[in-house]
Each structure stands twice: as structure tokens, then as C-alpha cells.
Amino acid sequence: MAAVAEQPRRLRRRGPHARREARIGLLFVLPAFVLFVLFRFGPSIAGVLLGFTDYSLMDSPTFTGLDNFTRLWDDPVFWSSLKVTVLYTVITVPGTIVAAMGLALLTRRAFRGSKLFRSIFFLPVVTSLVLASTVFIWIFSTDGPWSTVMGWVGGHTGSWLADDVFVVPALAIVGIWSRFGYGMLILLASLQNVPRELEEAALTDGAGPWQRFRHIILPSLKPALFFLAVIETTASFQVFDAVYVMTGGGPANASYTLVFQLYDAGFKYFDLGYASAIGLALFVLTLIVAVIQRLVIGKEK
């Protein structure tokens, strides 16, 4: 199809016709491209450069080399927010993927109400976390449902958000709640790739549900799982909205994440060079994790 489409164009490549086409093409791209250069391409480069400067919006940036990065390395707050962020990610990403996988398998085949279930599970994905957070504050409060339920099962009662050990798991629960529906849809789409014949053959050979899952379904889901793992890790590394509303980074910095630190550095202290350096660190960390995930998930094959 593509090759066929190219042909007539090649024939009239030069000449007034082609020149007019080029003009129109450029004209149509121009508005998007200008905005793009101004607000994405330019800022990407500027973001990297700013990381190597001292800048506070008032005076012009001064180049300070690696100062911001050595400062970051020596900053206990950075290590603590990195730890919080990693802990949050380590709970949220597997939790989200496991929940998504389970529900995708359960709603995989159509049955009465299957669409309704899928709609319900996806609803939190389209809901603003800021709005949901306002009610989660109550859910996790001392008199709220969560600590009551925890009391029944012998867990940690009292407000999880006010406890420096349980605050990150509480935020992770909100994170999982808000995102498993997205993973479920991605996996549902991917489950269509599972070869039906193989499943039937395995069934005839007496393979149980677990064996069928492990040897037939899981291998076909690998690309989707990798995609999900990267997307979810990136999102978790950038957790901000729920933290801002629910805990403000507290108690005692126990939920102070990397993006929170970036926000504070940039827009509370106007230390824009330092904030940019945190942004770069975040970027590099995300890349490293993506590469590791690729190696781990890609290797097995």
C-alpha cells in the first residue's frame, strides 16, 4: 500500500505542483511546530542546560558545572525522597500489574455484565487523583473505614497517613486503585493475541489453569507487560498529585517524593538550577529502570 501510494508522487516530484504541495505542507505543520519548538523542544534542551547552572529567575543563570549534582549527592533530603519514591514504586507497580492481570483474565471472555465491570474498573483512571484524594483522606483517617477494617483483621489501626511507616503503603493503595483499570485494558487487548488453538490443545492434554497461564498466556503477554511495566514505573516515579493533597510530604518527610522535592526547589525556593538537576536525575533513573526491565522481561525468551 505504502509503495503504491508513493509512486505517483515521485513522478511529479519537481515542478510547480510539488513546490506548491511543499508550501502547503509546511504551512499546515507550522503552527504545531512553532508551539512545539517553544514549549517542548526548546525547554528540553534548556532543562538539561539549567541543571548545570545556578538560576533563580531574577538574575541570569550562572554556569556552575557539576555543582548541582554534587550538592544533590550530598543532600540527605534527596536520598530520603529517592527512597520514598522507590518504595512507592516497588509497591505500586507490581500491585497494579497483578490486579490488572487478574481482572483482565476474569473479564477476558464476554459474559453478562462483563462490560459493566470493565467500565467500573476503568472509572478511577479517568478521575482526577486530586479529587479522589479528598475522599481518601477521610478513608484513611482515624475514624475512617480503612482503620476500622484494619482493626477487624488485626492490622495497623489509626490514621495510616499520619504514620511514617504506613503513609507510603497508603499512597500506594491509592495509586493502585487509580491505575489498575488502565493496565487491565491494555492486557485485555493483548489477550486477543493468545493463540486459541494452543490453549485448546493444552486443555486436551490436561493442562490445568495455572499451567495454561504460565506456558501459553504469559509468553504472549510479554510485550504488553513490558509496556505496562515501563509506563507504570514512569508514572510512579513522578507521583505528586496525591502526595500534595493527602500528606503534603509528611509526616516528617515520610512521603516526600522526588517530584515533590523538585516542586519545592523550583517553586517554593526558586532554586531553578537545582530543581532542573533533580528533573535530570529523575529522567536518568527512569531510563535506567526501563533498561533493567527490558533486560529482565526480554531475557527469559
Binding site: V29, P43, S44, V130, D143, E200, Y244, G266
Partner: protein, 329 residues
């Protein structure tokens, strides 16, 4: 029993063409779930048609079905619970709210809503959010349709370089560009203005990418024929391109609306005065000011209702969009 979940709409024909044509570009990006040829079914899951062909043994036993129903029911209730609590508590008089008594739908009052809607701020925040979302959707759709059409169907110098520079930016995380973008907007005196809020959000590489993918799948003959009939480029765009890309506009429009409506960090740093807040920023600020819980939640419900309606109306586009392209809600 087999509902028409796989029936195809006339308007979806063109989209299917696009879906079939373009898996390769996406595969190169390492995101194999986008525009997969197989994702042609209405809800992206293949439900419906499949039921008839699934061998009986794979459909599960009766006990399995009951177990599945119970499991799904429990998770569904847990998923909805925060929404239920949000609505019920917003309808309670202010004062102590304790579990589980306060969850019963008794003793309801709309006083929190009259507080919220009668206040000076919330209606203003609602207007701001509407402006941000609607201009955001219209602007993004127009810009990405123009650019996507040019990238897909026009030859001009620098086309490939421009397109790949667009694409590469999808990889750069928002937080790297956020600070320089803020500096730029501040230097242009755009802080606390609508244009400062909206303009950067219109630079949406993902939208351009999706538009290009879709338009590439439309047959060239349509445009050639119009040209032979003497239509100007502008006429071709308005009369032929725009009607043909309705399906992708619906999908993209729904997503862009949700992105804008739910956006938090950018409106938080650009809208610094109370009057320039969006609903998400405003409600976060209420939360921090010792405003009674029922009033904060009433504000949340007010902000949530439009999302919910957009989801009800555009649900098909949302679920299809995720399944076919991987765009995130």
C-alpha cells in the same frame, strides 16, 4: 446473548484502514500495543464475537463462574466505594463523620453544595477549568489535524526530521521541560493569564503522532479526486479531511479533555492568584484551609460530574483508544 459488540459503524471503516496500515512505525518505538491490526473490535477486547467460538471447556465450570462473579463483585465494590463515599459525605451536614454510620444515605442536606456554588471561588474555578479544557481540546485537535495531515500526505523539505523530533519528545519526561517552560512563560508575562496556562498544553506530540497514523491510512485517491475537481487545499482540508478523521477526533478529543480537566501541576504553578485556579488546584487549596470535609467533597463532586459525563458519553472512545493506542487516561 451475543450482543452486537463487534458490529462496525460506517464511520469506523476508515479508522480500521488506519489501524491495519500502521503497525510498523509503532513497533519501532517499542510500544507494541499501539494500532495492532488485531485490535479492531469495538471495545478492544474482542468480547462478543468470541463467545460463540470459545469451546465449551474453556468457558469454565458453573462453580468457576460463581467464584468469578463474587471476586469481580468485591473488587467492583471496592473500586466504587470512594465515589459513593464522596457523594454521600458531601450530602451530610458538616460535623463529625465516622464510619460506618455516616455512609448511610440518611439525614442528607445540600447545604455543602449551596456553600460551594454560592462561594465566589468555585464558580470561577469551574469557568477557568472549562476554558482550559475546551480551548485545549479545540486547539489540540485543530493543530494536530493540520500537522498530522501534512506529515501523512504532503511532501516538504524537513518532513522526516520534524516528525522525528516531535516523536523523540514523547520520551522526555514532563518534569524536565516544566521548569524552562515556566521560565519562558514568566518572561513573556504569561503567569496568571489564560494564554500562559493554555498555550504550552497545545504542544502535544502524541496528538500529532496519532493524527498522522490515522490519516496515513486514508486512501490518497480521495484527495487526488478532490484536487482534480478543482478544490483548494483549504477546501480539501475542511470538506474531506475533517469529516474523515471524526473517529480519531472523538477519541483524541475525549482524552485531551480528560487530561486538561484533571491537570494539576501546570495549573498549580502558572495560576498563582485565587482567581486563576482551576478546579483541581482550587480543591487542593480548600483541602489545605480547614474547610469542612462535606464542603471539600461537594467541590470534588462538582468537579467530578463533568468527567463522569464525558466518560459515559465517550467511554467507547476511551476504552478503544487505550486498547488500540496505549494512550493513557
Amino acid at each position: 446473548m451475543s450482543l452486537d459488540t463487534h458490529g462496525t459503524h460506517g464511520t469506523d471503516e476508515a479508522r480500521e484502514v488506519a489501524v491495519m496500515e500502521s503497525p510498523s512505525v509503532v513497533a519501532a518505538k517499542g510500544e507494541p500495543r499501539r494500532f495492532r491490526p488485531g485490535s479492531r473490535r469495538r471495545d478492544g477486547s474482542g468480547a462478543g464475537r468470541e463467545q460463540d467460538t470459545v469451546p465449551y471447556a474453556l468457558r469454565g465450570t458453573r462453580r468457576g463462574k460463581v467464584l468469578r462473579g463474587v471476586l469481580l463483585g468485591v473488587v467492583a465494590l471496592a473500586t466504587i466505594f470512594p465515589f459513593y463515599a464522596m457523594v454521600v459525605l458531601s450530602l451530610k451536614p458538616s460535623g463529625a463523620v465516622e464510619f460506618p454510620g455516616s455512609l448511610l444515605p440518611w439525614n442528607l442536606t445540600t447545604s455543602a453544595y449551596s456553600d460551594v456554588l454560592g462561594s465566589q471561588d468555585v464558580p470561577q474555578w469551574l469557568i477557568n477549568t472549562l476554558i482550559y479544557s475546551i480551548v485545549g481540546v479545540l486547539g489540540t485537535l485543530l493543530l494536530s489535524a493540520l500537522a498530522g495531515y501534512a506529515f501523512a500526505k504532503k511532501r516538504f523539505p524537513g518532513r522526516e526530521a520534524m516528525f522525528w523530533s516531535f516523536l523523540s519528545m514523547v520520551m522526555v519526561p514532563y518534569h524536565v521541560t516544566m521548569i524552562p517552560t515556566f521560565v519562558l512563560i514568566a518572561k513573556m508575562n504569561g503567569v496568571d493569564t489564560y494564554w500562559g496556562l493554555i498555550l504550552p498544553s497545545l504542544a502535544n506530540a502524541q496528538a500529532v503522532f496519532l493524527m498522522r497514523q490515522f490519516i496515513q491510512g486514508l486512501p490518497d485517491e480521495l484527495f487526488e479526486a478532490a484536487k482534480i475537481d478543482g478544490a483548494s487545499e483549504f477546501q480539501i482540508f475542511v470538506r474531506i479531511v475533517l469529516p474523515l478523521i471524526k473517529p480519531i477526533m472523538a477519541t483524541l478529543g475525549t482524552f485531551v479533555f480528560l487530561w486538561h480537566w484533571n491537570d494539576f501541576l501546570w495549573p498549580l504553578i502558572v495560576g498563582q492568584s485565587t482567581d486563576m485556579r482551576t478546579l483541581t488546584v482550587g480543591i487542593a487549596s480548600l483541602q489545605q484551609q480547614n474547610v469542612p470535609l462535606n464542603v471539600v467533597l461537594a467541590g470534588s463532586v462538582v468537579a467530578f460530574v463533568p468527567i463522569f459525563m464525558a466518560y459515559l458519553v465517550g467511554q467507547r472512545y476511551v476504552t478503544e483508544g487505550v486498547a488500540a493506542t496505549g494512550i493513557k487516561g
